[in-house]
Assembly symmetry: C2
Homo-oligomer: 233 residues x 2
């Protein structure tokens, strides 16, 4: 947390508030990462118990979102932070909204593990593996950049979403071909397609979080910037 400059605050109480809320976000991030990776294992191994665990754990993430949000509002009301401190809190409020939705995507993936895939189509589930690994890696790097509030890492992680998108597009082409060759497989392949889409959206949400980190550190809102302009940072 070197970029947080926690030392510079006159009020020790404010430091404690900030540190506590950041720890809660990190805890939430860890849970979300676990949900995504458990959902992917549940799909790959057709593990229904694990899938049910993912579904029943989602409430923890939801209630963390609500409580952290509340914590942030209370910090603003009590400490009246300005400039960088306020930017940090706004970045946290947005980050947890995206984390919560990554949790929802994990839920969607876990639901696919509960569907009964007959023998022939089980191999399909494995096709999600590459994309899934790529997305988990991306999510980890994003959470790491958040923990250290490191804009340089955030910028380079942000760019790597291209790789997720390329992997996603390759998988989609493959799945469309399968469907055309064997129309009976369509309902099952559509389930795989929804999972792939969920993974791709997790990538987008990681990109959002990277943008909030950059906004906090650089004081510059980089959402909707073109790739070249991002490069200039």
């Amino acid at each position: 947390m070197d970029n947080l400059n926690l030392g510079r605050h006159i009020s020790g109480q404010f430091n404690e508030d900030l540190e506590r809320v950041i720890n809660h976000v990190m805890h939430m991030g860890g849970l979300v990462e676990k949900q995504v990776s458990d959902a992917l294992v549940a799909v790959a191994e057709a593990d229904e118990d694990l899938a049910r665990k993912v579904l029943s754990n989602d409430f923890q993430i939801n209630s963390l979102e609500v409580s952290i949000d509340d914590e942030c509002t209370r910090i603003i009301a009590k400490r009246q932070p300005a400039a960088g401190d306020l930017r940090l809190i706004m970045a946290i409020v947005k980050t947890i909204a995206d984390l919560e939705r990554i949790g929802d995507e994990a839920e969607k993936i876990a639901n696919v593990a509960l569907e009964s895939f007959s023998g022939d189509y089980k191999a399909l589930l494995l096709s999600l593996e590459n994309l899934g690994n790529r997305v988990i890696e991306f999510l980890r790097a994003t959470l790491d950049a958040f923990t250290r509030m490191d804009a340089e890492t955030a910028i380079s992680v942000h760019k790597s979403d291209d790789k997720v998108d390329r992997e996603y597009e390759a998988l989609m082409r493959q799945l469309m071909t399968y469907m055309m060759e064997d129309p009976r497989s369509i309902p099952q392949i559509m389930s795989v397609i929804w999972s792939a889409r969920a993974l791709e959206r997790i990538g987008d949400r990681c990109q959002n979080i990277c943008e909030y980190i950059i906004y906090f550190v650089k004081g510059k809102d980089v959402r909707h910037l073109k790739a070249e302009d991002m490069k200039e940072l």
Copy 2:
């Protein structure tokens, strides 16, 4: 804006700030609604020019998000609002994030209008019409609840997402059947499926906005509440 109680603020300047930012959100909401309805007309009438207009207008929504966000942060820093006022500003920050993403969904729909649908499949595009009308209605009701900061309306609008979901599921079943009957149609039907999905997501985002309105008016975070608990409100 009767629920905003703008009269009760001692600082006239603060009232002006609030009124200005709310007007900007309403302007943004109007633009977003126009983008969605234009995208749907572009699809139904295979109107490429209109689709291109939707794509080129998206930047306006993006820059409104960034500028309103900035405005909110400045109001917090300058006026140090507490309680209801702070809740209102937090609700606005979240609302514009959802509005911006509704704009992105409109873009996805407009892209479908640019694909060349050969004669047989044109009818498919019309299948989006019912769902599209339902979603536009939903979005309008949401923006109306926002304008009046009316929690009762927000609660009843929130519930009506069920209708969008039912319409969406009926359409998806129909599209899956088409694909299975005529596998050559798969690529084109997939485009329609992505549009249907975009519409369904717009419904979800309207629900989010309703939740922020309820949070502001009732001071209660109703995200992740079960339907029965929502009813109790």
